[in-house]
């Protein structure tokens, strides 16, 4: 049996199919993954993401520590509440984890890291903190609910305490605000508008039930995966890992090279990769033939195996199959994918595939 979030009883009550995920027992779906997916693109859905771990980093050298620890540069966070996506690299340039970091105030940051990697991440941070005056505080007392979709904000705002609701209503995308122990970010992992809400674990079930009453569809990890894939967002462990770094995972934009004197962990390795050249490309694929693209299927360029799908599946918004793939730089506009030993034609595209309720790529 895995760990259970404060919302486990809610999932059972709602008839969820529970599956193990990163050491946790989590809902895969509550009946139909497709309906949950569509609810998020068309109205509003909610996800229990309490398995992810908020980590508060505080102290006079919190900023210096994070500028050393992360490949993106927290110095870019100039306004309180602003969020930044970053990889945390090892010295070889591989990805230990990807995370969101929020600026909460001078000397106060909050990171949110992945469930399966949380223990490893905390060990790594503990090793790297030597010489920095910082506190690193994992917030196991907090639950997290993501409410996503075009109606997510209007359905959520009336359920927040007055001062928080006012602040949350005024949030620009990729900003967060907080009141007492509640923290609301206008962020997410679906390609839709919405909030990610961190709150005391003891209050999570009450908010969950209120959202349900407001008509927000409970959604499981299955829909979370198809939504993020359509939105062209990477999944740690599939699209990048400790062996495969940001430059070959479509995450070059998250590496802050300037200022040149900032010595973040992994910088030397990434610089060497960049100079060496010949990096594999990270692309989107749309299947033109019949079947479903899946992780680890091989990609053929001019008939030769020269790449691999890292994430693939059926895209409900497009009504066909899509994938993210790491391929040789020689790839053109078309390729083929080996599905059960048959070469099935596919088109090479630039993700995202869908965002804000709409398909961005034509299947035909």
């Amino acid at each position: 049996m895995g760990s259970r979030t404060p919302l486990f009883a809610e999932h059972v009550r709602l008839g969820a199919r529970i599956v193990p995920f990163g050491g946790w027992d989590m809902p895969l779906h509550y009946g139909s993954q497709l309906e949950e997916h569509h609810a998020v693109r068309r109205a509003a859905g909610m996800f229990d993401v309490s398995h992810m771990r908020p980590v508060d980093i505080e102290g006079v050298q919190a900023r210096d520590f994070l500028r050393h620890l992360l490949a993106n540069d927290v110095a870019r966070l100039t306004q309180p509440g602003k969020a930044l996506y970053s990889c945390m690299l090892n010295p070889e340039g591989g990805v230990i984890d990807d995370l969101i970091v929020y600026l909460r105030g001078p000397e106060h940051y909050r990171l949110v890291v992945n469930a399966a990697t949380a223990a490893k991440d905390l060990d790594w941070m503990a090793q790297q903190r030597a010489g920095f005056a910082v506190d690193i505080r994992p917030r196991e007392d907090l639950a997290m609910i993501a409410v996503q979709g075009p109606e997510a904000r209007t359905k959520t705002l009336p359920l927040l305490a007055a001062p928080l609701a006012e602040q949350a209503q005024a949030l620009a995308p990729f900003f967060a605000t907080e009141h007492e122990d509640w923290f609301v970010g206008r962020t997410g992992y679906t390609g839709e508008d919405g909030f990610e809400i961190m709150l005391p674990a003891t209050e999570a079930a009450t908010l969950w039930q209120a959202l349900e009453q407001a008509g927000v569809q409970p959604c499981g990890l299955g829909a979370r995966d198809t939504l993020r894939l359509e939105a062209g967002m990477n999944l740690y462990g599939q699209d990048m890992d400790e062996e495969t770094g940001p430059l070959e995972a479509g995450l070059g934009w998250t590496v802050a090279w300037e200022p040149a004197e900032r010595d973040f962990i992994g910088r030397a390795a990434l610089s060497a990769q960049r100079e060496r050249g010949g990096l594999r490309r990270f692309v989107g694929l749309v299947l033109e033939g019949r079947g479903v693209l899946r992780g680890h299927q091989q990609v053929l360029i001019d008939g030769e195996v020269d790449g691999e799908i890292t994430s693939g599946g059926f895209a409900p918004t497009l009504g066909g199959s899509i994938a993210l793939a790491r391929v040789a730089p020689t790839i053109g506009e078309r390729c083929a994918v080996l599905i059960r030993d048959k070469a099935v034609p596919a088109r090479v595209v630039k993700p995202p595939f869908a965002r804000h309720g709409k398909a961005l790529i034509d299947l035909a």
Binding site: R17, L28, H29, S32, Q33, L34, G222, T226, R290, G291, V292, R294, G313, F314, S321, R340
Partner: protein, 130 residues
């Protein structure tokens, strides 16, 4: 609790088999199987005329989760495939035992049908899996 019609035969790998009484049988996946797979988004049916051995993988059902092989419950020749599944794979979820049939087979040995599981025996298989 899954629906297990008494007039069908079953396999341990969760196919159902209907005796059409004309020397052919119809094959699909059970209600339990469709439930376990989740939303089905693609079905690859076998080619008509193909000779299959008993327990040979001859069709593929892909759900939002994963791809699963479908096995021939009996040896024989594929005589028809359900073309409707090309545009509507969700029929397997909506109507596993009727409209969601996958293919028809002319068994080489009709008596082999008797050796398949009946509804009571299949119900027991499900109990043991739980």
């Amino acid at each position: 609790m899954s629906d297990i019609p008494a007039d069908l035969k079953y396999t341990k790998s969760h196919e159902w088999v209907r005796d059409n009484g004309d020397g052919t049988v119809t094959v699909g996946i059970t209600d339990h199987a469709q439930e376990a797979l989740g939303d089905i988004v693609f079905v690859e049916t076998p080619e008509v005329g193909r000779q299959v051995a008993a327990a040979e993988a001859c069709a593929v059902v892909e759900s939002v989760k994963a791809a699963s092989d479908i096995y021939a419950p009996l040896a024989g020749e594929v005589v028809e495939a359900n073309e409707a599944l090309g545009d509507a794979p969700e029929l397997l979820n909506a109507s596993a035992h009727a409209e969601g049939w996958i293919f028809r087979l002319a068994p080489s040995d009709a008596a082999a049908l008797d050796a398949l599981l009946d509804a009571a025996a299949y119900a027991k298989v499900l109990e043991e899996e739980d």
